[in-house]
Amino acid sequence: MRVFKAMLKVTGKHIVELTVYFFVFMVMMVYMTSILGSVEDDQLSSFTPNKPNVYIVNDDKGDPVSDGLEEYLSENVQIVDIKLEKDAIADALFYQKIEYVLRIPTGFGDALLNDSREVLLEKTASPNMTSAINADMLVDRYLRTVRLYADVELKETSDQSVREALVNQTRINLEKSTPLSFSEREKKTESSDDRMCFGYGYLSYAIMSILILAVTSVTSVFIQSEVRSRMRCSPIKTGNLQLQLFLGNLCLAVLFWLLLNAVIALVFQDFNLDSLRLLLLLNSFVFSLVSLSLGFLIGNLTASRNAHNAIANVMGLGLSFISGVFVPQELLGATVLRIASFTPTYWYIGAIEESFRITSETGYAIGKLIACLAIQLCFALSFLALSLVVSMQRRRRTLASDNFELNEA
């Protein structure tokens, strides 16, 4: 096992560099997951509705329905209480000082109760503002409720007192809300699951970057044409040599996989080996094999250390971005996801999501998870096959160096 031992020695010589990388990745992960956790906790415990700035012009004052709408809105939005000219309103909308303008025309109350479309509300919303949509929804909700009561309960709506009663009924209805509370346990579980999902997703970035660096730094030493030729002159069988190289690289992959997962367990203070953790461990192990074979391929392609560093960063970070490590896949564009589906990281993230679904939803089929894992294994095998092809080509090129010498002559 001379080659195997030498590989470990060579890895040992790169230990400082690899340790620095390892700690940087781990610190980043701890930091990012802690931010994610604190943001989610705040959001879950302190929900406050957004109140858009709304400017109301009520030309139908005195009508209980129209006045009721203005009153309802003033309780649920931020009313801009200054007189504005038409141009000033447009400017205020453009500069987003107000987000929604509502003009209630004369006779709107009558028209609404008579189900007439002759008099309509005039609404102007600031473009691309979600808060304006919220204001629009409030208006719509009020109008629909008024119409509902008018249709069902009241025959005669021209009487002022009847209208006031209708508006009161509407207000009572709109004030009703369903109390919602989060139990502490659910809140904690959901939050930590999300953090864990992110943590394991981030793990792909760390695994790929560190393993590419580690494997290339070792592989490139043994694929140098001089060293390779020298080893082929020795009595070590070629198969044995390849096996030792493979075992050495596999040990590296397993070592880093264990270390990274240990850090994840420490970060989340979760040492239970339930079905979810086992699936996540299996997924990260399969991804380690993918990164290992990718590192082997890159190591065979070039022996330049600078190129290895560059490729490790570009591959690790680039694939993480397009595959949904930092941004959830649901938020990524269809084209990006289509491109990402040709990368192993995409399927790794997919497998994490499937693992969470399988363990949280009853009766969920395991087929998708197996497909994600199988595709990752296919990537690993493809990279390995490619690296063998590159290795053979390199060997031929090395042996053809005499040819070059002859041609020169």
Binding site: A6, V221, P235, K237, D402, E405
Partner: protein
């Protein structure tokens, strides 16, 4: 016979790198392979080591057919490649230990062998150094130590002194002589004729993939017409006036003139120096420096191929 190469043919597409090469290397020899770049020396070495496949012929080492799977034979071969083959991350000691370990599995034996190799190449003060900290000469010595540490019976050295300072070169050449004295058979290729003349007991001159001449250095030099080269400086005359008369002499093979400097090549066993000196004395020519030397291997190559080993005019790089 330690190495027997029979009728070896190796082609790279249209180009024939080895053209029916035949070599026989006996036990205890230091066998030199000499030839310009592209003559096929390294290709021959690679074929002998089964690193290259060849179209025709056979290679036998220790009277057994050599193939890529001849691991028993490989155990007794030490190889020093033309390019330094060491692992940059490992120290001098670790490198020698690693390459020695490919042959010797027993730890105690290997330790003794590694220490002996370090002593042999004189790297005792550098055992903890990484290769990149070593000078060119020391690096070459490390390369040699990695190739010979396991005490092989056959050592193949492919131009081990390229880009090495004279002191390191002398150390390396002395080391090769010592290895041979200790019982190893050596195959040696070099760019330097002087080295080959100095350490090789037999020499094969290669050109265009063929052995054009083979034998001891004296046998090779006796193969050609020239027996002596006389180099004379004329103090008071230009040499042009004597060129025709000198060429007309029966023992003179060739005359090269350059102003007041003349080189006269004479036949074997012609006692040319005396006759040339008498000729100039009879014409009252004052002579400055006078040198006489036996023909070099370059002269042998020149006469056989019509080209110089060291020329660079399209027939190969300076060698």
């Amino acid at each position: 016979m330690i190495v027997r190469v029979k009728d070896l043919v190796k082609r790279y597409g249209e180009l024939t790198a080895l053209d029916h090469l035949n070599l026989e290397i006996k036990e205890g020899e230091v066998f030199g392979l000499l030839g310009p770049n592209g003559s096929g020396k390294t290709t021959a070495i690679n074929c002998i080591l089964a690193l290259l496949q060849f179209e025709k012929g056979e290679v036998q080492i220790f009277d057994q057919k050599m193939t890529p799977g001849s691991y028993q034979i490989k155990k007794d071969i030490g190889v020093v490649m033309q390019n330094v083959a060491v692992i940059p991350e490992l120290s001098v000691y670790e490198n020698i230990d690693y390459f020695c370990g490919l042959y010797t599995s027993d730890r105690a034996t290997r330790k003794a062998q590694v220490e002996a190799a370090i002593e042999f190449v004189g790297l005792n003060d550098f055992v903890k150094f990484r290769p990149r900290k070593l000078s060119g000469g020391l690096l070459r010595r490390l390369n040699i130590a990695c190739g010979i540490a396991h005490k092989p019976k056959l050592i193949i050295l492919d131009e081990p002194t390229v880009a090495v300072d004279p002191q390191s070169r002398n150390n390396i050449l002395e080391g090769i002589k010592k290895l041979n004295k200790d019982g190893a058979t050596v195959i040696y290729t070099s760019h330097y004729m002087e080295e080959v003349e100095l350490i090789c007991s037999r020499i094969a001159i290669m050109d265009k993939g063929r052995v054009v001449a083979q034998g001891t250095k004296d046998e090779l030099k006796n193969m050609i017409q020239i027996g002596e080269k006389i180099d004379i400086e004329l103090l008071d005359r230009m040499c042009d006036s004597f060129e025709k008369e000198l060429l007309a002499m029966p023992f003179v093979v060739d005359v090269l003139c350059d102003k007041q400097h003349i080189v006269i090549k004479t036949q074997q066993d012609s006692n040319g120096l005396n006759q040339v000196l008498n000729y100039f004395a009879s014409r009252n020519v004052a002579l400055g420096h006078v040198f006489s030397e036996r023909p070099t291997l370059n002269d042998v190559f020149l006469e056989i191929t019509g080209r110089e080993l060291r020329d660079g005019n399209g027939n190969g790089k300076v060698e």
